[in-house]
C-alpha cells in the first residue's frame, strides 16, 4: 500500500506538468476556474472552439486519450499515468467535457467492434477533437428500460433504413458521428432483437431539436430519424447482438464519469470557512460541523474507492458494477449540499444572478442541475438494482415482459 508516486510516476508527472505549463491556454484560466456546475465558462471565446483548440494541441504532442493505442491517436499509457495527467491538467480538464461521451464511451465501443479501416480513419480524429461523437441510446419509451427501445432499423440491400426517435442525446447538435442502438427484430424477446451502428450525424433525414432543461440550458437533444440510411459496413457487432455491444459502452460510461465526479464538498467547505452565522464563522457551528464531517466522509470515500479501482485496473482487472456507487452517492450528495449551502445563506440565496450571488451562484447552479445527475446514465433506482443484483447477487425482480416477444409486451397505451 503506497500513495506516493514511484520514481517512474514522478518523472511522468514532471513531464506532464512541464508540458502543460508551456502549452495550456492560460488566458482561459480565470474564466474556467469560475465555471459553475453544468456550465463551462470560457469568457469571450466560443466554448466548442476553445475545447477543440486545446484538444488538438494535446493530440499533436501525444497527450490525448492517454489510454488508447498510438495508432488510434492515443499514448498507450497506463491507468495510473492517466490519473496523474488528469491531476496535472487540473482546471484545463474542464475543456475536455464535450469529448467525454465520444472518447469515453463511443471510442471504446468502436475499438471493440468496428472494422480496422474505420478505426484508423475515425478514432484519431475523435482523439484530437476534430470530430465530436454522441451516443444515441435513450428513447421516450426506453430510458431505465433501455432494451425497450423502439427505433427501427430495416435492411434494404446493403443498407439499413432507420426510423424513430432518440432523446437525451448530449451534444447531438455539434456532433459529427454517433453510435446508435436500434431494433431490428420486434418478434423476439426485447434484448435479442437489437443491433448497433455508427453513423454520420449529417446524414439526410436526421432532425435535431434541443431540449430546454430545468436549469435553462440545453445540453440534451431529441434526435428524429426519418428514413435515414446507414451502410451495413457501419454495423457494430452481429445483427441481434446490440445489447451485448451496448454493455461495452455502458461499462465504459461508469469509468468515464465514475472517478472525477463532482460532489459539491470543496465548495461547501470553502463557504463555511468565512460565512457568518450567529456572529461566528459557520464552520464553528456544531450542526454545520456534523454535516461537514458526514459529507467529507462520503467525498473522501468516493475518492479512495476510485483509487482502488485504478489500482485494480493497473493490475489488469476489469472494473465491475461496484463502481456504480460513484454517481449514486455524488448526485444525491450534491443536491443536499446545494440546498444546505443556500439554507445557511438565508433568503438572499434565492438570487441566481452569477454577478451578485455568492461564488458566481455556484450553489444555485448545483441546485438546478443536480436533479439530472440522479437520472442521467442510470437513475439512482436502477443503480441500486444493479448493486443489489450484480454485486450482491440478489434475485432478479419479477418482470412482466420476461420471455415475451417485443411486439407483445404491454405498453400501457
Amino acid at each position: 500500500m503506497d500513495f506516493n508516486d514511484t520514481a517512474a510516476e514522478a518523472s511522468f508527472r514532471t513531464e506532464a506538468r512541464d508540458w502543460i505549463q508551456a502549452n495550456a491556454p492560460k488566458h482561459l484560466f480565470a474564466a474556467l476556474s469560475s465555471s459553475t456546475f453544468g456550465g463551462m465558462n470560457t469568457g469571450d471565446e466560443d466554448p466548442l472552439q476553445a475545447a477543440k483548440k486545446w484538444q488538438k494541441k494535446k493530440a499533436e504532442a501525444g497527450w490525448a486519450c492517454l489510454l488508447w493505442p498510438k495508432e488510434y491517436g492515443g499514448r498507450a499509457a497506463n491507468p495510473i499515468q492517466s490519473v496523474i495527467w488528469n491531476q496535472e491538467e487540473g482546471v484545463y480538464g474542464k475543456l475536455g467535457g464535450m469529448f467525454i461521451i465520444g472518447q469515453g464511451m463511443c471510442g471504446p465501443t468502436m475499438m471493440a467492434f468496428a472494422g480496422e479501416d474505420h478505426k484508423r480513419r475515425l478514432l484519431p480524429k475523435l482523439a484530437s477533437g476534430e470530430e465530436v461523437w454522441c451516443q444515441l441510446f435513450s428513447e421516450p419509451h426506453g430510458g431505465s428500460d433501455l432494451a425497450g427501445l423502439r427505433t427501427r432499423a430495416e435492411k434494404e440491400g446493403d443498407e439499413w433504413v432507420i426510423n424513430g426517435q432518440k432523446i437525451w442525446t448530449s451534444g447531438a447538435q455539434y456532433s459529427d458521428y454517433g453510435i446508435l442502438i436500434t431494433r431490428t427484430d420486434p418478434t423476439v424477446a426485447k434484448h435479442k432483437g437489437l443491433t448497433m451502428f455508427f453513423l454520420d450525424m449529417r446524414s439526410p433525414g436526421i432532425e435535431i431539436r434541443p431540449i430546454k432543461q430545468v436549469n435553462g440550458q440545453s445540453g440534451f437533444n431529441e434526435v428524429y430519424f426519418d428514413n435515414v440510411r446507414i451502410p451495413d459496413s457501419q454495423r457494430l457487432g452481429a445483427v441481434g447482438d446490440g445489447w451485448r455491444v451496448s454493455l461495452t459502452t455502458l461499462m465504459n460510461e461508469r469509468l468515464a464519469i465514475g472517478g472525477s465526479i463532482a460532489t459539491g464538498f470543496p465548495e461547501l467547505n470553502s463557504l463555511v470557512q468565512s460565512l457568518p452565522i450567529s456572529r461566528d464563522k459557520a464552520v464553528n457551528d456544531a450542526g454545520v460541523r456534523s454535516r461537514l464531517a458526514d459529507w467529507y466522509c462520503k467525498a473522501s470515500g468516493l475518492r479512495n474507492t476510485a483509487a482502488r479501482a485504478i489500482s485494480a485496473l493497473s493490475r489488469g482487472e476489469t472494473p465491475g458494477p461496484e463502481n456504480s456507487i460513484g454517481k449514486l452517492v455524488a448526485g444525491g450528495m450534491m443536491q443536499d449540499i446545494a440546498k444546505y449551502a443556500m439554507d445557511l445563506q438565508g433568503f438572499g440565496s434565492v438570487v441566481n444572478d452569477p454577478a451578485i450571488a455568492e461564488g458566481n451562484a455556484r450553489f444555485q447552479a448545483m441546485l438546478l442541475r443536480s436533479p439530472a445527475v440522479r437520472i442521467e446514465g442510470g437513475t439512482d433506482q436502477i443503480l441500486r438494482n444493479i448493486i443489489a443484483e450484480r454485486v450482491l447477487g440478489l434475485p432478479d425482480d419479477m418482470r412482466a415482459d420476461k420471455g415475451l416477444p417485443f411486439n407483445r409486451i404491454p405498453t400501457g397505451n
Binding site: 506516493n4 510516476e9 495510473i80 467529507y296 466522509c297 479512495n304 448493486i387 443489489a388
Partner: protein, 369 residues
C-alpha cells in the same frame, strides 16, 4: 501508487480467518453473551499462539514486527466474527500507549508479555456517562498512589494491567497500573454488548507509575493513542458490517414470501444496496487510513477520523438493517442478528461517540479542501 494490501498481509488475514472459522463460531460468542464465560479464552490463546498480539511490536520487544497493515486485516477478521476477546484493548490501546509514550524500561518490561499474551492490557478513561473531558477526571495520583474509580473499562474485568488516565500534580496524565495489585477492586458490568467484558474499577491507594516521562499531557497523549486505535477499530467495524450485510443477503435469497424470494423486492434490494454503499465508502476510507497509520503520515488525524466516522456509520446501518431484512426472526435471541447490532453500538462508543469524532475530523480538515 498502489492501493491494495500485499500478498503477505493477505496471508496473515487468511490464517487468522481460518483460526476463527474453527475456534470462534457463534456458539463460542454465545458462551460469553449468556454469561457462561467472561471471554473466549481459547480464541484469545489461539490468537496469541499465532503471535498476532505482537503483530506491530518490534522484534526487540518480543513482537513479530509484521506491521500495521497486517494488523488492520487481523482487526477486520476479528470484527467479522464478533470475537469476544480482549484483543482490541490489549493490542490497539495498551500496546500502542506503551509504544508511543513508554520509557525504554517500561517497554522492555511490558511489551514482550503483551506480545505473547502473558499479560492482557486495557485503557481506563471513562469516569461517568458524559463525554470525556479534562475537567471531569477525578482519579488522582499523589505520591505514586492512585485513588478514584473508572465507571466502565472495556476488558477491565480480565486485564492484568491498565493505562489509567488520572490527575497528577502536573495535570491529567497516563499511568501504568497493575490490576492484580492490592487496592484494586473490579465489578463486571451488564452492557448493551455482553460479548465484550466491561468492568467498573475502584482504586484505593494503588501503586501507579507515570507512562513515559512527560507528566501532565495525558489528554494530548490520549488523542495520539485514539487516532491510531481508531483505524484498527474501524477495521473491526467494517469486518462486522460486511458480516451483517452477508447475513442479510443470504437470508433474503432463501426466505420466500408472496411466492418469491424476499430479496427480489426492491424495497429490500435498495436497502441492501445502501448498506453496500455505506460499507464500500467506509472500506475505502479505512484503506487510506491504514496507509496513514503504517507510514505515520501527517494525514493520520484526518484519515483516522474519516475512517472512524464512516466505519461507525456503516456498521450501525448494516447491523440495524440486517435485523429489518430478517423481520421478526431478526428480533429473536436465537438468530445472530443481535450480535452485530450489540457490537456495532459498543464499538460506536468505545473511543468516544460520533460527536467527538466528527469534531476531530473537522478540526483536521484543511480549510481549502
Amino acid at each position: 501508487m498502489n492501493f491494495d494490501f500485499s500478498e503477505d498481509e493477505k496471508l496473515v488475514r487468511d490464517q487468522t480467518a481460518r483460526l476463527l472459522a474453527d475456534e470462534c463460531d457463534s456458539k463460542v460468542v454465545r458462551e460469553v453473551l449468556e454469561g457462561r464465560a467472561v471471554y473466549a479464552e481459547g480464541v484469545w490463546k489461539g490468537l496469541c499462539d499465532m503471535g498476532l498480539a505482537g503483530t506491530a511490536i518490534p522484534e526487540a520487544y518480543g513482537g513479530v514486527d509484521a506491521g500495521y497493515l497486517a494488523l488492520c486485516l487481523i482487526a477486520q477478521v476479528l470484527g467479522s466474527k464478533v470475537a469476544p476477546t480482549p484483543f482490541s484493548s490489549s493490542v490497539y490501546l495498551a500496546t500502542e500507549a506503551l509504544l508511543l509514550f513508554g520509557t525504554e524500561a517500561q517497554k522492555q518490561s511490558l511489551l514482550p508479555k503483551l506480545a505473547s499474551g502473558a499479560l492482557i492490557g486495557a485503557l481506563a478513561t471513562t469516569e461517568d456517562p458524559t463525554e470525556l473531558d479534562a475537567q471531569n477526571i477525578k482519579c488522582t495520583v499523589r505520591g505514586g498512589k492512585l485513588n478514584g474509580h473508572k465507571f466502565a473499562v472495556a476488558d477491565g474485568g480480565i486485564a492484568d494491567c491498565a493505562v489509567v488516565l488520572a490527575r497528577g500534580d502536573a495535570g491529567p496524565g497516563l499511568y501504568l497500573v497493575d490490576l492484580q495489585a492490592a487496592g484494586v477492586s473490579r465489578t463486571n458490568l451488564d452492557t448493551v454488548d455482553p460479548t465484550r467484558n466491561t468492568a467498573r474499577i475502584d482504586f484505593a491507594d494503588v501503586s501507579a507509575e507515570l507512562l513515559g516521562t512527560d507528566a501532565g499531557h495525558g489528554m494530548q497523549q490520549l488523542d495520539g493513542i485514539h487516532d491510531r486505535a481508531a483505524v484498527l477499530f474501524a477495521f473491526e467495524q467494517i469486518g462486522g458490517a460486511q458480516a451483517a450485510l452477508d447475513m442479510a443477503v443470504a437470508y433474503a435469497r432463501q426466505r420466500f414470501a408472496f411466492g418469491r424470494p424476499i430479496g427480489s423486492f426492491q424495497g429490500l434490494k435498495h436497502m441492501m444496496a445502501d448498506m453496500y454503499v455505506a460499507l464500500k465508502l467506509a472500506e475505502s476510507n479505512c484503506y487510506y487510513a491504514a496507509w496513514a497509520l503504517a507510514t505515520d503520515a501527517a494525514e493520520l488525524p484526518l484519515a483516522a477520523a474519516t475512517a472512524r466516522v464512516s466505519a461507525t456509520q456503516a456498521y450501525q446501518l448494516c447491523s440495524r438493517d440486517n435485523i429489518q431484512v430478517h423481520g421478526g426472526m431478526g428480533f429473536t435471541w436465537e438468530f445472530d442478528c443481535h450480535l452485530y447490532y450489540r457490537r456495532s453500538n459498543y464499538l460506536a462508543l468505545e473511543l468516544g461517540g460520533m460527536n467527538v469524532w466528527e469534531n476531530k475530523l473537522v478540526n483536521a480538515l484543511p480549510s481549502a479542501a
